[in-house]
């Protein structure tokens, strides 16, 4: 992360070296854990919603510890909107694709006609694809909710 010396001085606490260094160390591990929770939802408690919230919380933590502009530099508004929409699109698109391939809506075993893995294995893979979509949508919506609510919509200064 590039060191930014132009931190806002008018906050009550002001920039704190301890908080910034601690957050800088924590964020990669939080994001890795979020990805792990999404990808490991088949075997342990977790899935798209929980992992998405953890990933979104890493950007919220970045916005709290530094300022809102810093988190926007790593997660632009355009990427945020694209991710939120594509997450929902992946989920519903998987369902429609299943219906187009001759199964029922969201019947993942029909996807066997595209990539032959076996109908039962595809029900496992289909859940993973769908969880990825949920994770994308939840991640970006969590960050976007915090940005809008904490800055009143002008994306200038957060908490």
């Amino acid at each position: 992360m590039k060191k930014d010396h132009s931190l806002p001085q008018d906050r009550p606490i002001g920039p704190s070296l301890i908080i910034e260094v601690a957050v800088r160390i924590m964020i990669p591990f939080i994001q890795l854990f979020g990805l792990y929770v999404i990808a490991h939802g088949h075997y342990s408690p977790g899935g798209g919603f929980q992992g998405g919230v953890v990933l979104g919380a890493s950007f919220i933590l970045m916005a709290i510890a530094f300022d809102l502009k810093t988190s926007l530099r790593f997660f632009s508004l355009r990427a945020n909107a694209v991710m939120a929409s594509s997450g929902v699109f992946i989920y519903s698109g998987t369902g429609v694709l299943c219906a187009l391939m001759g199964g029922l809506f969201l019947d993942y075993s029909a996807l066997d006609a595209i990539i032959p893995l076996g109908p039962v294995e595809w029900r496992s893979m289909g859940v993973f694809v769908v969880e990825l979509g949920v994770g994308l949508a939840v991640t970006s919506i969590m960050a976007s909710l915090f940005w809008d609510l904490s800055s009143g919509g002008d994306m200038d200064k957060g908490l």
């Binding site: 088949h42 969201l106 496992s124 859940v127 919509g153 002008d154």
Partner: protein
Amino acid sequence: MKRIALISTLFAGVLLIWGTRDFPSWGDPNAPASRHVSPTYIERTVEETHIPNAVTSVLGDYRGYDTMFETVVIFCAGIVVISVLRRPDA
């Protein structure tokens, strides 16, 4: 008018609380929900979906339609907050 509203609210609330007396007790193995749907999911999850976690298979496969609209609800919440608060010049 306010009194009628209060009385009807209280009446409906008492009726609902009274209705809970007919519920099966919590965790009752003989409850209707525990006799048909739950054992089927628990017994057939692995052979039908190859997912070792029954919660994930119910969430993503057996009840996928529900989860899809949960995602849509979260998406709608985000879109509404953006459309109400965010300014175009930001």
